[in-house]
Structure formats: structure tokens, C-alpha cells
Symmetry: C2
Subunit: 151 residues, 2 copies
Amino acid sequence: MNIGQAAAASGVSAKMLRYYESTGLIPTAERTDAGYRVYDRADVNTLRFIRRAREFGLSMARIKLLVSLWQDRERPSREVKRIATEHVAELRARIAELTAMCDALDALAEACHGDQRPDCPILRDLEAGAEPDRSRIISPVASRSRTGTAG
Amino acid sequence: MNIGQAAAASGVSAKMLRYYESTGLIPTAERTDAGYRVYDRADVNTLRFIRRAREFGLSMARIKLLVSLWQDRERPSREVKRIATEHVAELRARIAELTAMCDALDALAEACHGDQRPDCPILRDLEAGAEPDRSRIISPVASRSRTGTAG
DNA sequence: GGTGGGGCGTCCCATCATGGGAAGGTCAAG
DNA sequence: CTTGACCTTCCCATGATGGGACGCCCCACC
């Protein structure tokens, strides 16, 4: 089967097929004399596995691990579970972040009249912390300590 | 103040300051004779506004709109509210997506023994929809090399 | 045996916001 | 004048994906 057919059969785009191959997620496909990639049903199954894993939001790195575990009949389910659990934890963290943003912004939006008047609690919140035109913001010593990153 | 001081005072990195300038989010900064960018307290306030807006997960495009609304004393709060509401809707949609992923994967992980045995509901779910392939998922072990993953 | 349309190949670019780093100029303190 | 911190611009990388250009290939149709 051609790349287009494998793509249609698996639900993974041909573009992604080439990309997955280039990153080593799937093995290098056989080629016809003309250089066309050739796939079989087993490849399509792997691709479906990958697509399904992507639907869980798993990263390529984790999917790579899962695929090799999947193809290893001796795998300990512990390994699989660990990967899934890590991902769930990350999803939960992300959800918590987004929920905090969402709740805060929604509260602000609820408090906003939303009419032709310029007064707006959203903007008032956003500009909070902006120093009014008082004295200098930076102290003479301030520029020294640049503590690492801020994620 | 120069870019490093403005960065420290605003919480926006110098790198991002240049980037925001290049994309037109903030106006082109004045320069010293040597070419150094110069900022004042008003710039720092704008930067803080931007940083705060970023904390709500707003896109640069929406922040650009918000900044111009913020600086327009005649703005209708309706405009601001609309932007916030759109973003809240997108956040909710994203949260729903992530929550669905999270719940589904978590259920699978919960059902997984997580021991040394190879049987695993997570992998079984992932391979669901894969066409049966003559009783085997991958071709006979001896013929195909496993592309020496080793890691 | 031609030919045309569509599939395939590679390579480059863009996303979105951010950081890393190199090469070279500038400033301020010693 | 030296030194070191800071500034400049430019390039690259992220993560997964799509878009597009250009050129070759394949097959059906005549």
C-alpha cells in the first residue's frame, strides 16, 4: 500500500507518516523502485495505535515508548501504567492551570457591564500592579540578582 | 531605563521585549546613540499589563486588542468583555478536551494492574480498532530487525 | 505508444511564545 | 585601558501539524 492509502486506512496524514518516520517513531518504510514508500496492514495497525494515543494527548516521546512496549510481549504492565499515570498527572496540572485562568477571567467578565461605557473591571484587573506615577520602581541594587528562570 | 531594567521591573524578559516590539505589540522603543533601547515607567506599565494578560492565557493577538482598548479612554467595555468572553469559551473548550482525555486515560490506568505481567488494558484500548492480522500483531520476530532502539 | 491528472518524493516555511546562544559593540567601574 | 556585565542582531530549537513548490512517477484512457 502507498502512503496515501496507509494514511486513509489509519487516519494519520501522509505528511505525518513521513514525519513519524523521520523522527524514528515508526521504522523506515520499504520503498518501491521508484522510491515510493510501501506499507502493510501491520504498519496501519501501528499507525492506528499511534493515532489513538495522540487522541489521549500523549507526546510523541511517550508514544514511542508505548509502541515499543506494545510490541514487546514481555513488557511489564507497570511500565505502561507509569507512562499513562505520568500523563494523567500532567493533564491534571494543565487542567488546573486552565481552570484557574478561566475562572478568574470569567469572574471579571461577569463583573463587566459590557456596554458602551469605558469602565471595565477586566482592564482594571489587568493594569493592577502597574505603578502609578510615583517614584522610581527599580532600586539601585535591584538589577543584580537575576534569579534563574521563570518557567 | 534600558531593556534589562525594564525587563526586571515588568517581569517580561528582555528577549520578549524585543519580540513584542518586532511584532508591533508594543511600539518601537527609542534608542540611545549606541543603539540601546530606552524605556520609561509608562512602558513598564504596559509590559506589566501584557504579562498579566498572558497569565490569563490570552493570545498575543487578543492582548494587542486589549492594549489598544486599554489605552483608548473612549473604549466601550463591550469590546473588552467580548474578547474576554471569547477567551473564556476557548478555555472551557480546551478544558473539556483535556478532561475527557484525562478521565479516559485515568480509567484505563486504574484498570491496569501495573505489575510485571504484560496484560494491560491501556494497550488493549490503544490497539482497539486495529484490524486483526493473522493472530499476530507484529511479524515473526526473527525476520525483521527491531531497529536497535536499545534505549 | 502517447498523454494528462493525480499521487508521491524532497525541501522549505509557518504556526505560537519562548529560550538559548554566538558574534560583536557599549558602558561603567577599577 | 582593561574587564566584565550588558546591549545589539541573527540564527536555531521547541511540538506536532499543515501548506506549498517543484519535479518525478503511475495508471487509465485513447
